[in-house]
Symmetry: C2
Subunit: 203 residues, 2 copies
Protein backbone atom coordinates (compact mmCIF):
# COMPACT_ATOMS: atom_id res chain seq x y z
CA UNK A 1 0.00 0.00 0.00
CA UNK A 2 2.36 2.64 1.26
CA UNK A 3 5.11 1.19 -0.87
CA UNK A 4 3.28 2.14 -4.02
CA UNK A 5 3.26 5.79 -3.16
CA UNK A 6 5.98 8.06 -4.28
CA UNK A 7 8.23 9.69 -1.75
CA UNK A 8 6.29 12.87 -2.26
CA UNK A 9 2.97 11.24 -1.51
CA UNK A 10 4.29 9.48 1.55
CA UNK A 11 5.69 12.68 2.94
CA UNK A 12 2.46 14.41 2.23
CA UNK A 13 0.46 11.73 4.03
CA UNK A 14 2.80 11.91 6.98
CA UNK A 15 2.44 15.66 7.23
CA UNK A 16 -1.30 15.34 6.96
CA UNK A 17 -1.41 12.90 9.84
CA UNK A 18 0.94 15.11 11.85
CA UNK A 19 -1.51 17.96 11.40
CA UNK A 20 -4.42 15.83 12.59
CA UNK A 21 -2.47 14.60 15.60
CA UNK A 22 -1.25 18.03 16.54
CA UNK A 23 -4.72 19.47 16.18
CA UNK A 24 -6.49 16.81 18.25
CA UNK A 25 -3.88 17.26 20.93
CA UNK A 26 -4.27 21.02 21.00
CA UNK A 27 -8.07 20.89 20.79
CA UNK A 28 -8.10 18.45 23.66
CA UNK A 29 -5.79 20.54 25.77
CA UNK A 30 -6.98 24.10 25.19
CA UNK A 31 -10.27 23.83 23.34
CA UNK A 32 -11.29 24.30 19.74
CA UNK A 33 -11.90 28.03 19.59
CA UNK A 34 -8.82 28.75 21.63
CA UNK A 35 -6.60 26.91 19.17
CA UNK A 36 -5.59 28.91 16.11
CA UNK A 37 -4.50 27.58 12.77
CA UNK A 38 -1.12 29.12 13.43
CA UNK A 39 -0.85 27.02 16.60
CA UNK A 40 -1.63 23.82 14.73
CA UNK A 41 0.75 24.59 11.89
CA UNK A 42 3.52 25.44 14.33
CA UNK A 43 2.96 22.21 16.27
CA UNK A 44 3.15 20.22 13.03
CA UNK A 45 6.17 22.25 11.97
CA UNK A 46 4.84 23.64 8.75
CA UNK A 47 4.09 27.18 7.67
CA UNK A 48 0.70 28.56 8.54
CA UNK A 49 -0.02 29.16 4.88
CA UNK A 50 0.62 25.54 4.02
CA UNK A 51 -2.13 24.33 6.32
CA UNK A 52 -4.67 25.24 3.69
CA UNK A 53 -3.07 23.02 1.08
CA UNK A 54 -3.93 20.07 3.34
CA UNK A 55 -7.33 21.08 4.67
CA UNK A 56 -9.73 23.61 3.26
CA UNK A 57 -10.76 24.82 6.69
CA UNK A 58 -10.26 24.32 10.38
CA UNK A 59 -13.34 22.09 10.66
CA UNK A 60 -12.26 19.88 7.79
CA UNK A 61 -9.50 18.60 10.02
CA UNK A 62 -12.06 16.77 12.12
CA UNK A 63 -13.58 14.88 9.21
CA UNK A 64 -10.86 13.06 7.30
CA UNK A 65 -12.06 10.07 5.25
CA UNK A 66 -15.64 11.09 5.90
CA UNK A 67 -16.79 8.94 3.02
CA UNK A 68 -15.97 5.60 4.60
CA UNK A 69 -19.43 5.09 5.98
CA UNK A 70 -21.03 6.13 2.74
CA UNK A 71 -18.99 3.55 0.89
CA UNK A 72 -20.04 0.91 3.38
CA UNK A 73 -23.67 1.79 2.85
CA UNK A 74 -23.29 1.73 -0.91
CA UNK A 75 -21.59 -1.66 -0.67
CA UNK A 76 -24.47 -2.93 1.38
CA UNK A 77 -26.86 -1.73 -1.29
CA UNK A 78 -24.83 -3.29 -4.06
CA UNK A 79 -24.67 -6.69 -2.39
CA UNK A 80 -28.35 -6.99 -1.69
CA UNK A 81 -30.16 -10.27 -2.04
CA UNK A 82 -33.17 -10.44 -4.34
CA UNK A 83 -35.71 -10.86 -1.56
CA UNK A 84 -34.58 -7.77 0.36
CA UNK A 85 -36.78 -4.73 0.20
CA UNK A 86 -35.37 -1.18 0.35
CA UNK A 87 -35.93 -0.82 4.08
CA UNK A 88 -34.19 -4.16 4.70
CA UNK A 89 -31.17 -3.03 2.75
CA UNK A 90 -30.90 0.21 4.68
CA UNK A 91 -31.27 -1.70 7.92
CA UNK A 92 -28.41 -3.98 7.00
CA UNK A 93 -26.33 -1.03 5.80
CA UNK A 94 -26.67 0.84 9.06
CA UNK A 95 -25.91 -2.30 11.00
CA UNK A 96 -22.72 -2.89 9.07
CA UNK A 97 -21.67 0.71 9.52
CA UNK A 98 -22.01 0.29 13.24
CA UNK A 99 -19.96 -2.89 13.25
CA UNK A 100 -17.22 -1.55 11.04
CA UNK A 101 -16.72 1.43 13.26
CA UNK A 102 -14.14 0.44 15.78
CA UNK A 103 -12.96 3.70 14.38
CA UNK A 104 -15.60 5.03 16.74
CA UNK A 105 -13.29 4.67 19.67
CA UNK A 106 -10.37 6.49 18.13
CA UNK A 107 -9.43 9.61 20.04
CA UNK A 108 -10.33 11.71 17.01
CA UNK A 109 -13.83 10.26 16.84
CA UNK A 110 -14.49 10.88 20.50
CA UNK A 111 -13.18 14.42 20.27
CA UNK A 112 -15.24 15.01 17.16
CA UNK A 113 -18.41 13.87 18.84
CA UNK A 114 -17.77 16.19 21.75
CA UNK A 115 -17.02 19.16 19.50
CA UNK A 116 -20.13 18.52 17.44
CA UNK A 117 -22.14 18.98 20.61
CA UNK A 118 -20.38 22.13 21.72
CA UNK A 119 -19.00 24.07 18.75
CA UNK A 120 -21.61 25.43 16.33
CA UNK A 121 -19.27 25.59 13.36
CA UNK A 122 -18.34 21.94 13.78
CA UNK A 123 -21.93 20.86 14.17
CA UNK A 124 -22.84 22.75 11.04
CA UNK A 125 -20.15 21.01 9.06
CA UNK A 126 -21.12 17.61 10.42
CA UNK A 127 -24.73 18.10 9.47
CA UNK A 128 -23.77 19.13 5.98
CA UNK A 129 -21.68 16.03 5.53
CA UNK A 130 -24.53 13.92 6.82
CA UNK A 131 -26.88 15.47 4.30
CA UNK A 132 -24.45 14.87 1.46
CA UNK A 133 -24.10 11.27 2.58
CA UNK A 134 -27.87 10.89 2.63
CA UNK A 135 -28.19 12.21 -0.87
CA UNK A 136 -25.51 9.84 -2.13
CA UNK A 137 -27.09 6.83 -0.45
CA UNK A 138 -30.54 7.75 -1.69
CA UNK A 139 -29.24 7.97 -5.23
CA UNK A 140 -27.76 4.48 -5.11
CA UNK A 141 -30.83 3.11 -3.40
CA UNK A 142 -33.08 4.45 -6.10
CA UNK A 143 -30.82 2.94 -8.76
CA UNK A 144 -30.87 -0.41 -7.00
CA UNK A 145 -34.67 -0.55 -7.07
CA UNK A 146 -35.66 0.84 -10.43
CA UNK A 147 -39.37 1.03 -10.96
CA UNK A 148 -40.04 0.38 -7.32
CA UNK A 149 -38.41 3.50 -5.85
CA UNK A 150 -38.20 6.91 -7.42
CA UNK A 151 -35.64 9.43 -6.25
CA UNK A 152 -37.98 11.30 -3.95
CA UNK A 153 -39.19 8.15 -2.28
CA UNK A 154 -35.66 6.87 -1.83
CA UNK A 155 -34.61 10.19 -0.34
CA UNK A 156 -37.56 10.12 2.04
CA UNK A 157 -36.74 6.61 3.17
CA UNK A 158 -33.06 7.39 3.64
CA UNK A 159 -33.88 10.60 5.45
CA UNK A 160 -36.23 8.76 7.76
CA UNK A 161 -33.58 6.20 8.68
CA UNK A 162 -30.75 8.62 9.17
CA UNK A 163 -33.00 11.12 10.93
CA UNK A 164 -34.27 8.50 13.32
CA UNK A 165 -30.83 7.27 14.26
CA UNK A 166 -29.27 10.68 14.65
CA UNK A 167 -32.28 11.98 16.52
CA UNK A 168 -32.11 9.14 18.98
CA UNK A 169 -28.36 9.53 19.29
CA UNK A 170 -28.68 13.19 20.00
CA UNK A 171 -31.23 12.57 22.72
CA UNK A 172 -29.00 9.96 24.28
CA UNK A 173 -25.95 12.14 24.18
CA UNK A 174 -27.75 15.05 25.77
CA UNK A 175 -27.93 13.09 28.97
CA UNK A 176 -24.80 10.98 28.87
CA UNK A 177 -21.21 11.13 29.89
CA UNK A 178 -19.63 12.38 26.72
CA UNK A 179 -16.08 11.86 27.88
CA UNK A 180 -16.29 8.09 28.11
CA UNK A 181 -15.62 6.32 24.80
CA UNK A 182 -17.33 3.13 25.92
CA UNK A 183 -20.46 5.06 26.83
CA UNK A 184 -20.38 6.71 23.43
CA UNK A 185 -20.28 3.41 21.60
CA UNK A 186 -23.04 2.05 23.79
CA UNK A 187 -25.14 5.12 23.04
CA UNK A 188 -24.51 4.63 19.36
CA UNK A 189 -25.73 1.04 19.54
CA UNK A 190 -28.76 1.90 21.62
CA UNK A 191 -29.68 4.71 19.27
CA UNK A 192 -29.71 2.52 16.18
CA UNK A 193 -31.55 -0.17 18.11
CA UNK A 194 -34.32 2.12 19.28
CA UNK A 195 -34.55 4.03 16.04
CA UNK A 196 -34.69 1.07 13.73
CA UNK A 197 -36.84 -1.34 15.68
CA UNK A 198 -40.10 -0.01 14.20
CA UNK A 199 -38.82 -0.94 10.75
CA UNK A 200 -37.90 -4.50 11.56
CA UNK A 201 -40.26 -7.13 10.19
CA UNK A 202 -42.84 -6.17 7.58
CA UNK A 203 -43.45 -3.10 5.43
Amino acid sequence: MLLFMSLRDRKRARTRQALIDAATDLFERQGYDETTIADIAAAAEIGARTFFSYFASKEELLFPESDGRVRAAIDAIATRSPDERPADVLLRALGEINDTSEEMVSPLAALRLRLIQTVPAVRGRALQLQLDAQREIAKHLAEAFPGQLDLVRAAALTGAFVGAVSGALQALLDSADRADPAALQAAMRTATEVALTPWRRST
Copy 2:
Protein backbone atom coordinates in the same frame (compact mmCIF):
# COMPACT_ATOMS: atom_id res chain seq x y z
CA MET B 1 -49.60 45.28 18.90
CA LEU B 2 -47.19 47.91 17.75
CA LEU B 3 -49.01 50.47 19.85
CA PHE B 4 -47.97 48.74 23.03
CA MET B 5 -44.30 49.08 22.30
CA SER B 6 -42.30 52.01 23.50
CA LEU B 7 -40.80 54.39 21.01
CA ARG B 8 -37.48 52.72 21.60
CA ASP B 9 -38.82 49.29 20.76
CA ARG B 10 -40.65 50.50 17.69
CA LYS B 11 -37.54 52.19 16.39
CA ARG B 12 -35.55 49.09 17.10
CA ALA B 13 -38.04 46.93 15.21
CA ARG B 14 -37.98 49.34 12.29
CA THR B 15 -34.20 49.29 12.13
CA ARG B 16 -34.23 45.52 12.31
CA GLN B 17 -36.61 45.31 9.39
CA ALA B 18 -34.58 47.85 7.48
CA LEU B 19 -31.54 45.64 7.93
CA ILE B 20 -33.40 42.60 6.64
CA ASP B 21 -34.76 44.51 3.66
CA ALA B 22 -31.41 46.02 2.80
CA ALA B 23 -29.71 42.65 3.11
CA THR B 24 -32.21 40.74 0.97
CA ASP B 25 -31.93 43.44 -1.63
CA LEU B 26 -28.15 43.35 -1.67
CA PHE B 27 -27.97 39.55 -1.55
CA GLU B 28 -30.37 39.40 -4.46
CA ARG B 29 -28.43 41.92 -6.47
CA GLN B 30 -24.80 41.01 -5.88
CA GLY B 31 -24.82 37.67 -4.09
CA TYR B 32 -24.33 36.59 -0.50
CA ASP B 33 -20.56 36.28 -0.32
CA GLU B 34 -20.05 39.45 -2.29
CA THR B 35 -22.10 41.46 0.19
CA THR B 36 -20.23 42.61 3.29
CA ILE B 37 -21.69 43.49 6.64
CA ALA B 38 -20.42 46.99 6.07
CA ASP B 39 -22.49 47.16 2.88
CA ILE B 40 -25.64 46.09 4.69
CA ALA B 41 -25.12 48.45 7.57
CA ALA B 42 -24.46 51.33 5.22
CA ALA B 43 -27.61 50.56 3.23
CA ALA B 44 -29.64 50.52 6.44
CA GLU B 45 -27.91 53.67 7.59
CA ILE B 46 -26.41 52.39 10.81
CA GLY B 47 -22.84 51.92 11.93
CA ALA B 48 -21.21 48.67 10.96
CA ARG B 49 -20.57 47.87 14.58
CA THR B 50 -24.25 48.20 15.45
CA PHE B 51 -25.21 45.41 13.09
CA PHE B 52 -24.12 42.90 15.68
CA SER B 53 -26.51 44.26 18.28
CA TYR B 54 -29.34 43.22 15.97
CA PHE B 55 -28.03 39.94 14.57
CA ALA B 56 -25.31 37.75 15.97
CA SER B 57 -23.98 36.90 12.54
CA LYS B 58 -24.50 37.44 8.86
CA GLU B 59 -26.47 34.19 8.50
CA GLU B 60 -28.80 35.02 11.37
CA LEU B 61 -30.26 37.72 9.16
CA LEU B 62 -31.86 35.07 6.99
CA PHE B 63 -33.66 33.35 9.84
CA PRO B 64 -35.71 35.87 11.78
CA GLU B 65 -38.56 34.42 13.87
CA SER B 66 -37.31 30.94 13.12
CA ASP B 67 -39.32 29.58 16.04
CA GLY B 68 -42.72 30.15 14.48
CA ARG B 69 -42.95 26.69 13.02
CA VAL B 70 -41.75 25.12 16.23
CA ARG B 71 -44.47 26.90 18.15
CA ALA B 72 -47.05 25.69 15.67
CA ALA B 73 -45.87 22.14 16.11
CA ILE B 74 -45.93 22.44 19.89
CA ASP B 75 -49.43 23.85 19.71
CA ALA B 76 -50.49 20.90 17.61
CA ILE B 77 -49.07 18.57 20.22
CA ALA B 78 -50.77 20.40 23.05
CA THR B 79 -54.19 20.31 21.40
CA ARG B 80 -54.19 16.63 20.62
CA SER B 81 -57.30 14.57 20.96
CA PRO B 82 -57.18 11.53 23.26
CA ASP B 83 -57.35 8.98 20.49
CA GLU B 84 -54.46 10.39 18.50
CA ARG B 85 -51.20 8.48 18.50
CA PRO B 86 -47.80 10.24 18.36
CA ALA B 87 -47.45 9.73 14.62
CA ASP B 88 -50.91 11.21 14.03
CA VAL B 89 -50.02 14.28 16.04
CA LEU B 90 -46.87 14.90 14.03
CA LEU B 91 -48.81 14.53 10.82
CA ARG B 92 -51.37 17.08 11.92
CA ALA B 93 -48.60 19.40 13.06
CA LEU B 94 -47.02 19.30 9.63
CA GLY B 95 -50.33 20.15 8.03
CA GLU B 96 -50.85 23.14 10.27
CA ILE B 97 -47.32 24.35 9.69
CA ASN B 98 -47.93 24.23 5.97
CA ASP B 99 -51.15 26.16 6.31
CA THR B 100 -49.70 28.85 8.51
CA SER B 101 -46.85 29.51 6.17
CA GLU B 102 -48.04 31.94 3.57
CA GLU B 103 -44.75 33.28 4.75
CA MET B 104 -43.52 30.76 2.21
CA VAL B 105 -44.01 33.19 -0.60
CA SER B 106 -42.24 36.14 0.98
CA PRO B 107 -39.17 37.30 -0.94
CA LEU B 108 -37.02 36.50 2.06
CA ALA B 109 -38.20 32.89 2.14
CA ALA B 110 -37.48 32.41 -1.55
CA LEU B 111 -34.04 33.95 -1.23
CA ARG B 112 -33.33 31.86 1.83
CA LEU B 113 -34.22 28.66 0.02
CA ARG B 114 -31.89 29.55 -2.79
CA LEU B 115 -29.03 30.46 -0.47
CA ILE B 116 -29.46 27.28 1.55
CA GLN B 117 -28.73 25.34 -1.61
CA THR B 118 -25.76 27.38 -2.69
CA VAL B 119 -23.96 28.86 0.33
CA PRO B 120 -22.46 26.31 2.72
CA ALA B 121 -22.51 28.63 5.72
CA VAL B 122 -26.22 29.25 5.28
CA ARG B 123 -27.00 25.59 4.82
CA GLY B 124 -25.07 24.78 7.96
CA ARG B 125 -27.04 27.29 9.97
CA ALA B 126 -30.33 26.06 8.56
CA LEU B 127 -29.53 22.48 9.48
CA GLN B 128 -28.62 23.50 12.98
CA LEU B 129 -31.90 25.30 13.43
CA GLN B 130 -33.71 22.26 12.12
CA LEU B 131 -31.95 20.06 14.64
CA ASP B 132 -32.78 22.40 17.49
CA ALA B 133 -36.39 22.42 16.37
CA GLN B 134 -36.43 18.64 16.29
CA ARG B 135 -35.11 18.42 19.82
CA GLU B 136 -37.71 20.86 21.08
CA ILE B 137 -40.54 19.04 19.37
CA ALA B 138 -39.32 15.67 20.59
CA LYS B 139 -39.23 16.96 24.16
CA HIS B 140 -42.84 18.13 24.02
CA LEU B 141 -43.93 14.98 22.25
CA ALA B 142 -42.43 12.82 24.97
CA GLU B 143 -44.14 14.92 27.62
CA ALA B 144 -47.47 14.61 25.84
CA PHE B 145 -47.28 10.82 25.83
CA PRO B 146 -45.84 9.88 29.22
CA GLY B 147 -45.36 6.19 29.70
CA GLN B 148 -45.89 5.54 26.03
CA LEU B 149 -42.91 7.43 24.57
CA ASP B 150 -39.60 8.02 26.31
CA LEU B 151 -37.35 10.83 25.21
CA VAL B 152 -35.11 8.73 23.02
CA ARG B 153 -38.02 7.12 21.23
CA ALA B 154 -39.69 10.48 20.72
CA ALA B 155 -36.47 11.85 19.29
CA ALA B 156 -36.21 8.90 16.94
CA LEU B 157 -39.77 9.36 15.75
CA THR B 158 -39.36 13.10 15.27
CA GLY B 159 -36.05 12.58 13.52
CA ALA B 160 -37.54 10.04 11.15
CA PHE B 161 -40.39 12.36 10.36
CA VAL B 162 -38.34 15.48 9.81
CA GLY B 163 -35.59 13.56 8.05
CA ALA B 164 -38.02 12.02 5.61
CA VAL B 165 -39.72 15.28 4.80
CA SER B 166 -36.54 17.27 4.35
CA GLY B 167 -34.89 14.45 2.45
CA ALA B 168 -37.77 14.24 0.02
CA LEU B 169 -37.83 17.99 -0.30
CA GLN B 170 -34.15 18.12 -1.03
CA ALA B 171 -34.42 15.44 -3.68
CA LEU B 172 -37.28 17.30 -5.28
CA LEU B 173 -35.42 20.60 -5.32
CA ASP B 174 -32.24 18.98 -6.56
CA SER B 175 -33.63 17.46 -9.67
CA ALA B 176 -36.95 18.80 -10.65
CA ASP B 177 -38.55 21.97 -11.76
CA ARG B 178 -38.83 23.85 -8.53
CA ALA B 179 -41.81 25.64 -7.06
CA ASP B 180 -44.39 23.30 -8.44
CA PRO B 181 -46.93 23.19 -5.62
CA ALA B 182 -48.49 19.95 -6.77
CA ALA B 183 -45.22 18.04 -6.88
CA LEU B 184 -44.34 19.52 -3.51
CA GLN B 185 -47.59 18.34 -2.03
CA ALA B 186 -47.07 14.88 -3.45
CA ALA B 187 -43.52 14.71 -2.13
CA MET B 188 -44.70 15.65 1.33
CA ARG B 189 -47.34 12.96 1.26
CA THR B 190 -45.00 10.17 0.22
CA ALA B 191 -42.44 11.37 2.74
CA THR B 192 -44.82 11.32 5.67
CA GLU B 193 -46.25 8.03 4.53
CA VAL B 194 -42.80 6.47 4.27
CA ALA B 195 -41.67 7.85 7.60
CA LEU B 196 -44.73 7.12 9.68
CA THR B 197 -46.02 3.79 8.45
CA PRO B 198 -43.57 1.72 10.48
CA TRP B 199 -44.43 3.58 13.65
CA ARG B 200 -48.16 3.24 13.30
CA ARG B 201 -48.53 -0.36 14.38
CA SER B 202 -46.20 -0.48 17.36
CA THR B 203 -46.29 2.91 19.01
